[in-house]
Assembly symmetry: C2
Amino acid sequence: MKFNKKLENIDTYEAGKPIELVVREFGIEPKDIIKLASNENPYGCSINVQHAVTEIVPNMAMYPDDSMMKLKEGLSERFDVAEENLIIGSGSDQVIEFLMHAKADENSKILINSVTFAMYEIYAKHVGAEIIKTASQEHNLDEFYALYKEKNPDIIFLCTPNNPTGDAIDAAAIMEFLAKIDSDTLVVVDGAYMEYAQYKDQSKSVSPKELIEKFDNVIYLGTFSKAYGLGGMRVGYGISDARIIKELYKLRPPFNVTTLSLEAASTALKDEEFVNECIALNFEEMKRYEEFANKQKLDIIESYTNFVTLCFCDNIDSTQLSDELLRRGMIVRNLSGYGMNAIRVTVGTKEQNDRFFELVQELL
Amino acid sequence: MKFNKKLENIDTYEAGKPIELVVREFGIEPKDIIKLASNENPYGCSINVQHAVTEIVPNMAMYPDDSMMKLKEGLSERFDVAEENLIIGSGSDQVIEFLMHAKADENSKILINSVTFAMYEIYAKHVGAEIIKTASQEHNLDEFYALYKEKNPDIIFLCTPNNPTGDAIDAAAIMEFLAKIDSDTLVVVDGAYMEYAQYKDQSKSVSPKELIEKFDNVIYLGTFSKAYGLGGMRVGYGISDARIIKELYKLRPPFNVTTLSLEAASTALKDEEFVNECIALNFEEMKRYEEFANKQKLDIIESYTNFVTLCFCDNIDSTQLSDELLRRGMIVRNLSGYGMNAIRVTVGTKEQNDRFFELVQELL
């Protein structure tokens, strides 16, 4: 059977290895496996969220409220934007998918950072668009601008803080950059880890409200998968000009977020205390990674997220190290696929991090 | 901002009105609202499923097992097919989305029944494909074949039992039809309500295993949203030749099914007793709809599903009737949008159906 030609260029995204596969491949007991590979919230999710979800478990037979009334009200209040400025996806991934299909096709160009969230490129390939990458590892907005002038892309992705490197762009620099971009180019500001950046350094804090008040060609992305501790529930959102949201809505499948996920996210928004506690603990533990890296003479990228990126010199091979860690039940993210001799490690709980330090020390 | 031209032709799918909206619009208390509009299982979902999901609520922070190991094993056993023949979607809707994007584009043609599941047409519009419809209200395979010969479509959709009419095609006729279709045309056999048809009449029972053993250009679709009582959890699946599955997989976003949904569906597969009890009750209650229709001299289409379609003569207007029912807290599906002066009513519990009969009698 013949398929669309663009499928020939698509590789399947390889997610961080789930615990289930490590159990099977290496015969390690689930209790002995530590997963620091997917930047989940190591403190789980709020107990209030757990209670709310448990209460509506008997409603699983009913289709979700497709108007997403409650969650939209919550987000609208949280970000001080109108509901017509909101679209909710099965993860912010799905909002990326919508905007790619709405704005791009095989004649389009997509400008992304050299090292960034893999799904931008994958969804660009779904529509057959050309991908243009910067050369710098950090987002260099001068380079972005030069490529914008030269190549005239249809969509520009800024990921701040960036995944998988953890660095963040100054909010003021983003506003200056946006002011120079024509109104027919869509600029995506992906703030999946923004709650962490905000906490650490206000100058990195991008306000979706300010973005959309000033620009009608920008969309801000957020997620419940990270700080809110709901990675398993697949809820993300886009905040943008109502005209853009209206177009994206045309591509939204009905019932794209489950009944329990809507309840989980709505309740999570009401427990900011839990989120703030987790973020505070995250940065306390992150200090220990910085100390560890210093002691071991490893390069660590300054991180505004819940993960750290450790970069190695030639004497250490990131693939080999992560394989060795895996055999010992420690799952981290090898960044060799991103062209980096580095690993990305979620900042876990104290015990998880202790074990990581112990194992790496053994292996180095 | 300019968007892809094909978006101009897309309308947003209007799902059955959720209870939340009726509460808001008409000020009716949730407890007084009966929703017979979306063919959910009125008996809810299995208590075993509820327990299994409740138990893993604390795991919501962890991304889903993206290999979907447990659910794939369950489906593989249930249908006696290999795991490489399976793809799992966020509802079978999402599998339709994958296959549309894999096989069709703006130069493609999609052949569907005149009245059928709305998402085929909506997803066809997402890729800008041309939609060809039969004239007959029931699936007429001779007409399908004539249109196939004349128009050379890329994808043919057979929905059996058909939504929103409830009638079903003989399985033998489908096999005969498939034997006449060239191997580059993809035929979709959507069995979302197949568990009901199977129970009522074995001659309507399509075996996915037999389909894919005999044909390499067919995909069978199934769902957990109907008989399994998990409409809120968004889990469906496709069963097909491994080469087709491999291509569809390229378009599958990672983590497309939530952690709790995977658990719910895996557990639901192990409680066939619950499903069979619900189906038995469904057809007992359906008899009462048939009697009611006879008494009221209304046309009812013989149904192999968990809903009935009541067709009206000129003296009754389906839009007016469903609006009046809505004001009284009874949500049904008006089929005027499908060009039919008819309503589709989910066969509910005894009490729900009593109320429906009472209200309609009042209004006629």
